[in-house]
Amino acid sequence: MLGRAARHLDVAGAFVELVDGERLAYDDVVVATGARPRLSPWGKPAGVHYLRTMEDAEGLRADLGRGGPLVTTGAGFIGAEVAATARQLGVEDITLIDPAPVPMGRVIDPATAGRLGAVHREHGVTTVFGTAVEAVESVGCSLMVRLAGGAVLDAATVVVGIGAVVNDEWLASSGLPVGGGLRCDERCRAVGAPRVHAVGDVARWRHAGYGALVRTEHWTNAVEQARYVAADIVGPGGQGPYQPVGYVWSDQYEAKIQVIGRTGVGLDPVTVERTGAARSFAVLYAGAAGALVGAVTVSWPKAAIAVRRALKVDTPLAEVYAAIGGLPAPAPSTL
């Protein structure tokens, strides 16, 4: 069935229709149509890349093999990892651009993200944060990146990493609730159609623990959610709600960044520096009741494990702080 897209899901008739008109009947159907890179608003002349597929990666590597300058537009996980990897491949002239004031600001609090931005500069990458790209133009055999404010950068290669778009348009005719993903209940079943399930980037499900709709684009969730849905199909009702502790990692230079649970804007970070290890630390986030709700760890995998274990049960942030830091917890007023 590879290479044949689905174009319609008929809930009442319980079939999926392919682009060539063939209809596949189902008892249960799993929607796992994923997401795709958000297209460059500046066009895509030669030398401009996305990074989603193996072919994308191979094409980018080939261009980077010819050297820089490299410009990455977007300093999320994609942009930051491309900049770090290109630097380690020997590309000399790299600029990392984002309209936000820090990299990875959607998932990491500003102070911690600022520290991670500094790591790029320490490795010789130029960072341009708080500035938007206005145009990417082809000039002869190279590219020109025009920034808000008038600055212009020359580039041999540009990577556009500005987010993803959910592949849910094909469901518009189904009557199912879509838009930013297929809306599902706490068991990853489509709202109003319990034999329709969703997994991975396309699923927007109600996370019982968060009390909110959640959509996650990371590897771990795709694996865990697929396991959950498969078990739900063969044994309906045999599990509780799907409420995983989110987990994503990013390798940049020597830094292993691990993001667990709820982090980022709106939560107060408490940082634990790892004794005797430079550039190794953990940032803990507490909820309203003082319980740990998430963490970012940098080059400290054992701290990440401690956090993942602690998040399985309600654990006070102070307790985790003391456990991983080997230090008394800070005074409550500082937590």
């Binding site: 694996v223 396991r227 390798d251 995998p301 054992k302 494990i305 993942r308």
Partner: protein, 65 residues
């Protein structure tokens, strides 16, 4: 009896194995997997530790196919 193996060169310290089966795996201070026991007497335990899938293909679960 299932034998536990781990590829230390492949391990990247993601620790899914430890979270999935902490009686079988741990990490050292450098974040590299440590196998705590070499055999699993009950195959059902292996299935129960199925969450030990490894993004780096360093553990017995391996990446998703």
């Amino acid at each position: 009896m299932p034998v536990v193996k781990a590829d230390h060169a492949q391990c990247q310290g993601y620790a899914n194995c430890v979270v999935g089966a902490d009686d079988t795996f741990d990490l050292d201070d450098d974040g590299v997997v440590v196998v705590l026991r070499l055999e699993i007497p009950d195959p059902a335990v292996r299935a129960g530790g199925g969450q030990s899938w490894c993004p780096a293909d360093a553990g017995p679960g391996g990446p998703p196919s």
